[in-house]
């Protein structure tokens, strides 16, 4: 759960959404209202937070909170 909480923190900060909306199944664009630039910022924020590099191709596939958590966990 540690990863989820940290990912959630980045999402709340970058997308300016309420924490309770950040559920594992929430989609960044459709549910959390991220525009294209915010999506990029979110990916950059995750890179900074976890010290990982996320390729453009991987970023494309990270569309939900759970996908982000799984990706980060897979890198650790």
């Amino acid at each position: 759960m540690a990863t989820f909480d940290d990912v959630k923190e980045v999402i709340v900060e970058k997308l300016g959404v309420d924490a309770e909306k950040v559920t594992p199944e929430a989609r960044f664009v459709e549910d959390l209202g991220a525009d294209s630039l915010e999506t990029v910022e979110l990916i950059m924020g995750l890179e900074d937070k976890f010290g990982v590099t996320i390729s453009d191709e991987d970023a494309e596939s990270i569309r939900t909170v759970q996908a982000a958590v799984s990706f980060i966990e897979g890198k650790q």
Partner: protein
């Protein structure tokens, strides 16, 4: 107990092509305005080091960076090196430029490509690298040095004119894309400025252009640099997506 506020860290400005000419004047005015400056050169390291020394006389840090911007990937790497060295980048001035003047019908593909790569694509790759940093900082200034010929056209300079017009379009697009992140992007369009580039013009061309300039003289590098320093300053925070002419009235906007 002393309770002095810690001094504000100095902002950092990178001026590409600042070993001489307009870029040198820009780097020195930014140093005079209190910016730490990254001096970039393509070929002349010794000249760049002299500029850095002069900049340091203003009490700021100055460091020299070499990069061949005819290869656009080097411009992005340059920005990353500057950020690594100074720990931040507040102002990027895309000034480096070359000419390969000839009539379009005689212009080789290489002449076209070299000018577009250096003047336009390198400005893009440098901006892209800078924006990633500036987005995180939620502030930043990008200043593209275009040219009056990018607005007016000029015979014998199809490649240069296209690159400068391209810079103006790039300026407007980036200004719209990153305005919401506190980043301003503007272009400065110098007219005929006394520099190595204009000194190389044939006398007849110089005389002909002088006739079209309401202020009836060529400009000085410092007169362009003053506008760059202003655009980099806090006072210019509400100016973005603009093309500021410094041309003695040659091209009325």
């Amino acid at each position: 107990m002393t309770d002095q506020p810690s001094p504000q860290p100095r902002k950092v400005a990178l001026v590409t092509g600042s070993s001489r000419g307009l870029g040198r004047a820009m780097a020195l005015q930014l140093a005079a305005a209190g910016f730490d400056v990254a001096i970039h050169y393509g070929r002349n390291a010794a000249e760049a080091e002299k500029v850095a020394e002069t900049a340091r006389a203003h009490g700021v840090a100055a460091q020299v960076f070499g990069a061949d911007l005819t290869t656009p990937a080097n411009a992005g790497a340059l920005v990353e090196h500057v950020i690594a060295a100074f720990g931040r980048l507040d102002v990027l001035v895309n000034n480096a430029g070359i000419t390969r003047d000839t009539l379009a019908v005689r212009m080789k593909d290489e002449d076209w490509q070299a000018v577009l790569d250096t003047n336009l694509t390198s400005a893009f790759t440098a901006s892209r690298a800078a924006l990633k940093h500036m987005m995180r900082a939620r502030t930043g200034r990008i200043i593209n040095i275009a040219s009056v010929v990018g607005l007016m056209g000029n015979p014998g300079q199809a490649n240069y004119v296209a690159s400068k017009a391209g810079l103006i379009g790039l300026t407007k697009a980036l200004a719209k894309e990153y305005g919401g992140r506190g980043i301003t992007v503007n272009a400065v369009a110098p007219g005929f400025i006394e520099s190595d580039m204009t000194a190389a013009l044939p006398e007849a061309t110089r005389t002909a252009y002088l006739g079209g300039i309401p202020l009836a003289r060529f400009g000085q590098p410092e007169e362009v640099a003053a506008v760059v320093a202003f655009l980099a300053s806090d006072a210019a925070a509400y100016i973005t997506a603009q093309v500021i002419g410094v041309d003695g009235g040659l091209y009325p906007h």
